[in-house]
């Protein structure tokens, strides 16, 4: 056949990549970018921006991190926030995928819920955090509730969009091969909507983290949000930056894990990330 050219095209999508970040050979740019920003930070805060109330050198942040880690409270704060995040995110994922799927397959469910979903997705729902603290107390329940509430909407919306976007022709193919309803669901609807669902989960990561941190601002016994709040009150700028960096790093890690998951579960879409 004259069509073997494709075969020779070389690298297969989905392989030869740093997990979740970039194709092999491009990771150095990410590293360089991080190092450059860290360098600029360090140098500028030692020379130009020397007011420690506004910003401190990265090396100071590192020292402060070491001290807090040694005292043990840092680990408790990280653990609290991440556990709250994990539970809130998991609840949002389960509820979001279920509700989104129901909205996609049932016009009635869609009609009843769509106005709430779009309204609540667009409003800064994080404003309910103080109310949730009153309802659920200052323990972990309120943080999980806020995180789940914030994270659930992009998951609902993307799941519904993914299932609805399933090409009519694919469903027809399934029918022409006499697939049962469940087979069609499992072999067509789920894989077709998976990339959308994962995109929804990616959006949800940031929102769940915001939910946890902001809810902790309004009352908590431990957590990175509390750490940020209390550090800012005592002008401990180094600790504040540390908490933000930990949150940023964790968010980036989650997003890249989800990208890896997408490549595993949806390798046919991998080429679109090149």
């Amino acid at each position: 056949m004259a069509e073997t050219a494709v075969k020779a095209r070389g690298r297969r999508p989905g392989r030869a990549r740093l997990p979740g970040i970039l194709p092999r050979g491009r990771g150095w740019r990410v590293l360089l970018s991080v190092l450059a920003v860290a360098g600029i930070w360090e140098v500028s805060t030692r020379t130009v921006f020397t007011n420690p109330l506004i910003i401190v050198p990265l090396s100071r942040v590192a020292e402060r991190t070491a001290a807090l880690a040694a005292s043990g409270t840092l680990w408790r704060d990280i653990y609290t926030s991440l556990a709250e995040f994990a539970l809130g995110f998991a609840i949002a994922a389960v509820v979001g995928i279920t509700v989104g799927a129901l909205m996609a397959v049932s016009d009635a469910v869609h009609d009843f819920l769509t106005v709430w979903v779009s309204a609540l997705y667009a409003t800064p729902t994080v404003a309910v955090a103080p109310i949730f603290i009153i309802w659920f107390g200052i323990g972990w329940e309120s943080k999980i509730a806020v995180a789940a509430l914030l994270a659930v909407f992009p998951i609902i919306i993307n799941t519904e969009a993914g299932i609805r976007a399933c090409d009519r022709h694919w469903l027809e193919v399934a029918r022409s091969f006499q697939a049962t309803g469940f087979q069609t669901f499992r072999m067509v609807l789920v894989p077709a909507s998976l990339p959308f669902i994962i995109a929804g989960l990616r959006l949800a990561v940031g929102r769940a983290l915001v939910g946890v941190v902001v809810a902790e601002f309004f009352g908590a016994r431990s957590g990175l949000g509390l750490l940020i709040l209390s550090s800012s009150q005592v002008f401990d700028t180094a600790a504040l930056f540390m908490a933000v960096i930990i949150l940023a790093g964790f968010g980036a890690l989650m997003v890249s894990l989800l990208s890896t998951l997408e490549r595993k579960l949806a390798p046919w879409r991998a080429h679109s990330h090149d």
């Binding site: 999508p13 022709h169 006499q178 390798p267």
Partner: protein, 265 residues
């Protein structure tokens, strides 16, 4: 005709849209013999796809019946498989997994299904491409996968809806030859919808020419060109006469349709 496998009996189809009913197919009747290759040509919108979908059991006729081996068709069945008009492969499945789809649905074991499908891929010239995703192979290869997917469930009747329409001329000719080879190997019955008159004449034992508004068969033309048919057949005078004749029918039809276009709202 000996041993009809398929009979289409006074099939009609109306679509109702906005309370208005349009007659897409008026009384269509024909029979197809076992192992026959029948091509269906007609102007765009005359109802070829609709007719094929009725035969496939994907939509119901408004009246009339389709029989396969004497039994009335009431839905999709294992005796028929469709090769769809547009690119209908599942992008999340590799070439091999796409071909395997129908067998998975039937609960055939993975190993047995794979063995069968790998053999089929060889036969359609895609040996070694099983692990590729549809987006990684060319349009011609995708259409072969489409064909292999239908062949995998070993249907008696292959329903093909303009399977080569999106291909360039050379690939199309190649595919036509390969289809004939596969058809004569596998002894399937084929209903093949196409816009291309020469494609119809080259492939088919019979060409059914359709007219539109409502869709109906205006002529049933046996193509008495001996097989196997090398590509050079297309350059012979006999072949040209078939093509010209069908052109004439369609042209008349198109002109009539153009003249009688009612002022549709």
């Amino acid at each position: 005709m000996t041993d009809p496998i398929l009979s289409v009996e006074q099939v009609t189809k109306q679509f109702v849209k906005d309370g208005k009913s349009t007659e897409v197919l008026g009384q269509i009747s024909f029979t197809v013999g076992r192992g026959e290759f029948v091509a269906l040509v007609g102007p765009s919108g005359c109802g070829k796809t609709t007719l094929l979908r009725i035969i496939a059991g994907l939509v119901a006729a408004s009246s009339g019946a389709v029989r396969v081996n004497g039994r009335v068709v009431s839905g999709p069945g294992p005796d028929r498989a469709m090769v769809f008009q547009q690119d209908s492969l599942f992008p999340w499945r590799t070439v091999l997994q796409n071909v395997r789809f129908g067998l998975e649905v039937r609960g055939v074991g993975r190993r047995q299904a794979d063995a069968l499908c790998l053999g089929l891929l060889e036969r359609v010239g895609l040996g070694g491409f099983g692990s590729y995703y549809p987006h990684e192979v060319s349009g011609g290869m995708r259409q072969r996968v489409n064909l292999a997917r239908a062949l995998a469930v070993d249907p008696e009747i292959l329903l093909m809806d303009e399977p080569f329409a999106a291909l360039d001329a050379q690939t199309r000719e190649l595919m036509q030859m390969e289809l004939l080879r596969i058809w004569s190997d596998a002894r399937k019955t084929v209903i093949f919808v196409t816009h291309q008159i020469d494609e119809a004449c080259y492939l088919a034992d019979r060409v059914l020419v359709m007219a539109s508004r409502p869709g109906r068969i205006v002529e049933d033309i046996p193509i008495d060109i001996p097989r196997p048919r090398p590509l050079q057949v297309k350059r012979t005078g006999e072949f040209g006469r078939y093509v010209d004749h069908i052109w004439g029918l369609l042209e008349k039809e198109v002109r009539r349709a153009a003249l009688t276009v009612p002022s549709e709202g």
